[in-house]
């Protein structure tokens, strides 16, 4: 059987590896972006000089041949699901018995005037990174950069540019950084930290227009407040959307992403979709229908491999978790902690912040039952396994707080703050009662 996978990102590659583990099928992975699988999450470290491109490849180049996974560098122009063939940009065709669509995302562009000028770019692919190296090699050739969109990629881009001393203005639509996701105290702390890194953070500010110079390159932006900010680079990081335009006319049903059921099947037999580009017909629990994170791609890849190899299986992610890093502050989240602007009326939050350092934690729990809903930590590492178990066992906040030490995952000899946290929790509780 010939299995073709479009996309060599984490989801497509995980699928390929597991299909090889479970079977002897022929596997071909097609990608337009790179010869080999690399880690997209490490793009920033290449620009900052922490790593070279070769370090971002999780497997040695010889791995693929050894495991009989054929890699093909090409762009798929369209899919003919009737004849089960793919048409490549070069015009040549590839036949498949089973097709896995794992084409990932692309940066959002919201129709801003000037968004297609030179030196206006997103940050998603290797090609974007190459463009950034040209557009913003140093602070002489890029005197200021404006970043539009305060999410995880926006703040990474800000850190990247600051590592080369390039002045950065960061336009954020929200009233506080990422407060659709983060509770107020945490979001406020990140605001401070962003500014400490000499980023000109503009909250509550939208992009209205990008101005062009004579050569058709960006020279300034205009904000919704009417201010003009001169710059040599505009980074568009207002989220991503599934990269599925090539599927139009193929008969594969799409909405924001490729619509799939719990077994990751599309409406067309033998066509599956996984990773960033897949959209669950019915969202799972409180998860979004399109989940654009690393580990869900990995899980979907493994799940679809089992289905294709004759052991049908549902994509069944456990409790939500994720992590990120905001400049120097590590962030981990487990379960559900609502953001400042999207708080659930049934949810209560306990927030603790260290008086001097960038350390804080938020525990969310149900108002009546006091059952733990989720935990966010900043600057404190938590043990996934332990918290996952607490969530599964429906522990109450009162059971969990005194035992936070069991979930600590900081390196040895680090100072622990569980006692302070527990004390704050009890004293706050007394006040409430």
């Amino acid at each position: 059987m010939q299995i073709v996978i479009i996309g060599n990102g984490i989801s497509g590659i995980t699928a390929a590896r597991h299909i090889r583990k479970l079977s002897d099928h022929q596997i071909t992975v097609i990608s337009a972006e790179s010869d080999y699988f690399f880690s997209r999450t490490a793009l920033m470290y290449i620009y900052m000089g922490h790593m070279k491109y070769q370090h971002t490849k999780p497997y040695e180049d010889s791995f693929w041949k050894k495991n009989r996974i054929e890699l093909k560098r090409a762009r798929v122009r369209s899919v003919d699901t009737e004849t089960k063939t793919l048409i490549l940009d070069s015009g040549s065709q590839i036949a498949y018995d089973k097709l896995i669509i794992a084409t990932g995302s692309q940066p959002n562009r919201f129709g801003w005037p000037g968004q297609d000028l030179k030196r206006v770019q997103g940050l998603y692919s290797l090609q974007d990174l190459e463009a950034l190296e040209k557009n913003a090699p140093d602070s002489h050739r890029c005197k200021r950069a404006v970043i539009v969109g305060g999410g995880l990629i926006g703040i990474e881009l800000a850190e990247m540019l600051r590592s080369r001393n390039i002045p950065v203005t960061f336009l954020v639509r929200e009233t506080s950084f990422w407060n659709g996701v983060l509770p107020q105290g945490e979001s406020a702390m990140i605001n401070e930290h962003i500014r400490e890194h000499h980023v000109d953070l503009r909250l509550n500010t939208n992009l209205k227009e990008i101005l062009s110079d004579d050569a058709g390159a960006a020279r300034a932006v205009i904000t919704d407040g009417g201010e003009q900010i001169d710059c040599d680079l505009v980074g568009l990081t207002a989220g991503v959307r599934p990269n599925i335009d090539f599927l139009s006319g193929s008969g594969v049903q799409t909405d924001k992403g490729v619509l799939v059921d719990r077994q990751l099947r599309t409406n067309i037999p033998d066509v599956f979709a996984i990773g960033d580009c897949a959209q669950q017909r019915t969202p799972i629990g409180k998860r979004r229908a399109v989940e654009a994170v690393w580990y869900t791609g990995r899980m979907m890849g493994e799940t679809v491999a089992r289905t294709i190899c004759g052991a049908p299986m549902e994509y069944n992610p456990g409790h939500w978790f994720n992590s990120a890093k905001f400049f120097d502050i590590e962030y981990q989240t487990y379960g559900w902690v609502s953001g400042a602007s999207s708080k659930d009326p049934q949810e209560r939050q306990f927030h603790w912040r260290h008086p001097e350092q960038y350390l804080c934690l938020t525990i969310s729990y149900h108002k009546e039952s006091r059952v733990l809903l989720g935990i966010n930590t900043f600057g404190i590492r938590m043990r996934h396994e332990v918290i996952d178990q607490w969530l599964t066992e429906n522990r109450t906040v009162d059971q969990v707080v005194p035992r936070l030490g069991e979930a600590n995952f900081d390196p040895e000899w680090y100072r622990h703050y569980e006692t302070e946290i527990a004390q704050t929790f009890t004293s706050k509780a007394e006040k409430v009662v």
């Binding site: 470290y45 620009y47 922490h50 090699p137 140093d138 580990y295 990995r298 120097d328 043990r383 390196p411």
Partner: protein, 531 residues
Amino acid sequence: MNTLDSMSLAGGPPKGLKNGQKFAVFLGLSSFFIVVLAAFGLNFPNKGFWLTASLSGILGAVIWFSWIAYRDDPKGIKNHGVWFKSISGRGLWAWALGILITGFYIVLYFYPEYLGLVKDGPNRGLISLFDPLSRALSGNPASQWFVYGTLYTLAILAFGIKFIWKYRHNRYQQLRTMSVMFFQTAFAFIIPEIMARLNGDLPYYDLKNIWPLNYYNFERYRVNAFIDSGDIGLGMLIFGIVSILVITPLLTYFYGKRWYCSWVCGCGGLAETAGDAFRQLSDKSTFAWKVERWVVHSVLVFVVLMTTAVIYSYLGPDTSKYWLSKSQFLIGVGVLLTGVFAWVMVYRRSALKKDAIYGACGYLLIILGLLAIHFFSDSRHVFVFSSEGLRKTYSFLIGSVFSGVIGTGFYPIFGNRVWCRFGCPMAAILGLQQRLFSRFRITTNGGQCISCGNCSTYCEMGIDVRAYAQKGANIVRASCVGCGICSAVCPRGVLKLENGPLKGRINPHEVLLGNDVNLMELANQNSDSVA
């Protein structure tokens, strides 16, 4: 991806030096120039003054340099521009530095007369510059080894301070660095000198240096000196044996080999401090891993054979002088090795990779074979090799060329732990134990790994940490020195160095990290399949 490779080099900052740093470099080079002048034979009038000026100048320069490097930024990981900088990215400066250090080691080991060593007379040149300090400590004039020891300690102290600054958010890093700074200064540098002052008959003994690292510890002249200098000497000899047979295995069982390699050892100390800028240069390929296993274990076999032969050669036919006769000693060694080997084969077979078993079997045969032949050899020969020849070869190839010239001289090219990884027989022993019988492991935090590769890149031992982390497996590797840098640089808080029960320490099952429980069980059931 040539464009990306080349672009990184063409890329702009952050690779330049800040202004203050240029002055610091200037200060450091001028201070070092005093040493160079002395090396070229300039006879300084007031040696004490110039030596103090030079050493404190170097120390001050490194501290100043680090302060400027880290003072402006909030605490956190400081790896900006590592691969852009010539010195840490295998550029021109790296090669220049590598050649300089290599040259220094060659002169130090093989041509100390160029440093000013005079056989039967007062020192000249560089070594004489260090006379005042040496006299103040031990009462004797300096030797080339005293000069080397002083510079070595200075490097660990100066770059140790830099390292502590760099990792000021990380107490594990700070504490272990203070520890190596202490052990180097006290145990390797000051205490032996003072002991020499108090009791001139005692052999120079750095108590933290354990056989087989100090492969010469049981040579005849040393053992005689130990015995001849009374209770203290005898105590030291017994300590030397106990530290191999009891202290080392015990501490390694509880804490992994890191207690030695990253907290105590001088070679490790230099690698972690002065060598910190080069840790990313280690080769991560599976090929390098294979070479590592063969080379380091061969060195181990070599040192066991060599030491056995040397001791055998001076032991008498009876127990009158050394409590042990030739044959008792040999039988003892054979029994010990076979015992250890049998234990491993019975209880730890499953933990060994196939080639490790082949290797171990092969080596055991060789050792036992040679020992057997030994019985048919005379007192100065092991089979056809003379024991003295073996010792000389070892001391030249391993003790000098590998540990010094290649081990340190090649820091800027192959990374800072080349010796520890490929050459050190002590690391090999501790590693075998760490892999098979220790509570130490690096725990992977569930499904949080994003496969970014920071951990693997900055692992000085060339361990592909990511390969384990991304499948949720703990890292239990013989070569891991527990430096904790992988855990420090991980941007997602995935790795934690821990000591814990042996059960469940190695968990090679690829789980669907984050997927629900049934699926995990299923994955574990199926994980016996290939690839």
